[in-house]
């Protein structure tokens, strides 16, 4: 019994939308952690508190996107979910550890005001794990694209060996993910701060943008040999227009950041991240696990996908206005977060 391809495509689309939201919003929070780690200069403390203020009210809501992605993956594509969890056991455990330490470090630090030492230590845990988590996520994506996650021939999956995990391409995609998060965070922070602090973050946005360019430049040739399916689609196939667009947006991002066109920085950065993600998605399609398992093959039944999509529509109708309200209240015209 095969599942209706339209339903499969819609379910994949919902995953990609969820991933986009996670990349932009949670990506900015992870990037905030990176800049907390790299806070330097005379305004070190101001930088850190600007980051904490920006993240405080919204990071939990942003974090929920990853839960959304996991539950949708195992509802709509249970076979792919099982394959990823067995094959990528070690890197995914690292993702999880990173998320726990990141959230725990952040929440507890926010409430340890009177204990500078504990606070500093928790801040360190928070910021280091904010680097580890996006790295491990990008790393996982690279491993899957490289075709390193393989079936065991008995209906199950093999754990990806360390030699494949530590191949250059997945490592570079991990680093690229960290740079993208840092770029988007620095951009948001530039827009949300003022004066000298704004200048600090603007320089950081440029610096992170440089990192994105560097690791893209290293990653593409590596992909050519290590992840041929992906790179062929990226450079010669259906994802090419998006890759070109990403290049244009990267250039545009550099121009608006360098010239200090504040109002344009945020939209350009968001568009850039989305286009990069969708380019990757278009290049990886139709595989959930390249090149062994397609989304179609791993999909749930028609009945399940229909119910899921119906619930998604209803859920979105409630969720979207709530999210908009949240961001309106805390990210609107008064950038200072409320006190409590």
């Amino acid at each position: 019994m095969t599942t209706d391809p339209t339903l499969v495509a819609l379910a994949v689309l919902s995953l990609l939308v969820g991933l986009s939201m996670y990349a932009v919003f949670a990506g900015a929070d992870f990037g905030g952690g990176v800049w907390d780690l790299l806070a330097a200069g005379e305004r070190k403390d101001e930088q850190r508190s600007a980051i904490a203020r920006a993240m405080g009210p919204v990071w939990e809501a942003n974090h929920v996107w990853i839960i959304f992605l996991i539950v949708v993956l195992f509802t709509a594509f249970p076979a792919a979910f099982a394959a990823l969890c067995i094959g990528l056991f070690a890197p995914l455990s690292l993702v999880l550890l990173g998320m726990i330490l990141r959230g725990g470090g952040f929440v507890l630090r926010a409430h340890a005001e009177d204990e500078p030492l504990v606070q500093r230590y928790l801040g360190f845990v928070f910021s280091v794990s904010s680097v580890i988590t996006p790295f491990a996520l990008g790393w996982c994506a690279g491993v899957v694209a490289a075709g390193a996650l393989q079936p065991d021939g008995k209906g199950g999956w093999l754990m990806v060996p360390w030699s494949e995990l530590l191949a250059p391409f997945p490592i570079v995609t991990g680093l690229l993910a960290v740079c993208i998060c840092s770029y988007i965070a620095a951009t948001f922070l530039t827009v949300e701060t003022e004066g000298a602090l704004r200048e600090d973050f603007r320089r950081r946005a440029l610096f992170a943008g440089g990192g994105v360019a560097l690791f893209s430049a290293i990653g593409l040739p590596l992909a050519w040999s290590e992840a041929p399916e992906l790179s062929h689609e990226l450079l010669m196939g259906r994802a090419l227009p998006l890759v070109v667009l990403a290049g244009v947006l990267a250039l545009l991002g550099f121009i608006v950041t360098a010239s200090g066109a504040w109002s344009l920085m945020r939209p350009v950065a968001v568009a850039f991240v989305l286009v990069v993600l969708w380019a990757w998605g278009a290049a990886q399609w139709p595989y959930a696990v390249t090149p062994y398992l397609t989304f179609q093959e791993s999909a749930s039944s028609d009945a399940m996908l229909t119910v899921y999509l119906a619930c998604l529509a209803i859920g979105a109708a409630i969720l979207v206005p709530s999210l908009i309200y949240l961001f309106r209240v805390f990210k609107g015209s008064h950038p200072e977060a409320g006190s409590w």
Binding site: P57, A61, T75, C85, F89, L97, H111, M304, Y308, L319
Partner: protein
């Protein structure tokens, strides 16, 4: 996995119950304009922020672990019972959004808008429970699919799977457990404060709200407990027999309290038998016949000692928790000075952890009572675990992280309380509240 769940459930129950208590306190403030209520609500919202954050993390842990530890279970079950998990994602989203508005919005929203933000917060918690318990209930009473002769799943009906037979009663029982736990937890904190000599309006009102709430919902919980016993009798007779330590199929079965089940001798050593009670509980009929464990193959028996003991603890502690409420009800009109008595306050302090013990042992009863099955009569636990290796090291690492986080969280909550006292001692005019959380 078991340890993560046991950890998560402690925070999850607060996530369900605290919003209700917050709304009560804030509602009382809006009505009476007595500032003490507002202070209570603000303090609770701060403490709740910490426990919710940790709960969100342990919830993330669980959703990952479902895959990392039970990939074959999820591969089998995801296509049938994934729906409530997805919906729970939405409910959790709503909770996180409105919690943020609630916590950070004290000074940014009008009092009324702020109070109204509590409604989706409460609903989010109730709905989360609804969906998660639905998935758990499905593991007890799997429906909504057929297995063909090759073991392949066909005829999937996600709605029927979600509203499986065990679900309604299990949901109510868990929901009220959460409310009871939250009520007693709050009451216990203020009773402890009063015992330390902080005898002021702030502490008395905090205690009163928590205790009154717990005392009102607890009797309802006993009713849902009875409903669940009837359901288990029908759907999982082996689980019921194990809970009760009933080896032999018996007419007019007695209820055996305490004692240690002995699988060799097929009897409960040292138990207290209450005639007819089990037949009454299970069938509302003193002469009904209750199936014993002997009716089922021994290889499918759960751990009899664990399940029976956990069940005993749940019902004894649960019943004992009625006491504080009853005493308070009596004292309220006739002996108000009892509320100041140390013995009464100590009892309230004890009822906090007791409620948690009760809830955890109930959870152990239902989960261990299903063993060796992961999905009752369909998939065994041993067939659902991961084939990945090297798990032990990660398990140890995560356990250490949990312990550290818990210790830090508790110390930070305590510090929050003492800071509040210092601030008030420094600033507040005498006679105004000077208490901890």
């Amino acid at each position: 996995m078991g340890s993560s769940l046991a950890f998560h459930i402690c925070f999850a129950v607060l996530g369900i119950g605290m919003p209700v208590l917050l709304m009560i306190a804030e509602g009382l403030w809006l009505r009476t304009r007595n500032d003490v209520y507002r202070q209570l609500a603000r303090t609770w919202s701060k403490a709740f922020a910490v426990t919710f954050g940790i709960g969100a993390i342990s919830g993330t842990m669980l959703s990952f672990e479902l895959g990392l530890l039970w990939p074959r279970f999820m591969e089998f079950a995801g296509g049938i019972i994934g729906m409530p998990f997805s919906l729970e994602g939405f409910a959790f989203f709503i909770e996180a959004i409105f919690l943020a508005l609630y916590l950070y919005g004290w000074d940014r929203l009008s009092p009324r808008a702020h109070f109204l933000c509590g409604i989706p917060l409460v609903l989010g918690g109730f709905l989360s429970t609804f969906f998660i318990v639905s998935a758990n209930a499905w593991m007890n009473t799997p429906t909504g699919f057929t297995l063909d002769e090759n073991g392949a799943i066909t005829d999937i009906d996600p709605i029927a799977a979600m509203f499986n037979p065990a679900f309604p009663t299990q949901y109510l029982h868990m929901l009220f457990a959460a409310l009871v736990c939250s009520g007693f937890a709050v009451a216990a904190v203020y009773a402890a404060g009063l015992l330390r000599g902080r005898r002021d309006e702030y502490h008395r009102k905090g205690l009163a709200i928590g205790l009154a709430f717990a005392a009102i919902v607890l009797p309802i919980q006993l009713v849902t407990g009875d409903l669940i016993a009837v359901m288990v009798t029908k759907e999982q007779p082996l689980k019921l027999a194990t809970m009760e330590g009933l080896y032999k199929t018996t007419k007019s079965a007695p209820l055996t309290l305490f004692g240690i089940p002995d699988d060799e001798k097929q009897e409960v050593v040292g138990g207290i038998e209450i005639p007819y009670l089990l037949s009454i509980l299970a069938y509302n009929n003193p002469n009904a016949t209750v199936q014993g464990m002997e009716a089922f193959p021994e290889e499918n028996w759960p751990n009899t000692v664990l399940v029976h003991t956990a069940y005993d603890v749940m019902i004894t502690v649960g019943s004992a928790l009625m006491l504080p409420g009853l005493i308070a009800l009596y004292a309220w009109r006739r002996r108000p000075h009892w509320f100041e008595k140390k013995s009464f306050l100590w009892m309230i302090v004890a009822s906090g952890p007791a409620a948690y013990i009760c809830m955890e042992s109930g959870w152990i009863t239902t989960e261990s009572g299903r063993q060796p099955w992961a999905i009752y009569n369909v998939l065994k636990v041993e067939d659902s675990v991961t084939t990945a290796t090297g798990i032990l090291g990660w398990f140890i690492l995560f356990s250490i992280v949990y312990v550290v986080i818990t210790v830090l969280m508790i110390s930070i909550l305590l510090r929050m309380a003492s800071k509040r006292r210092q601030r008030l001692a420094a600033a507040g005019p005498p006679g105004v509240v000077s208490g901890d959380d």
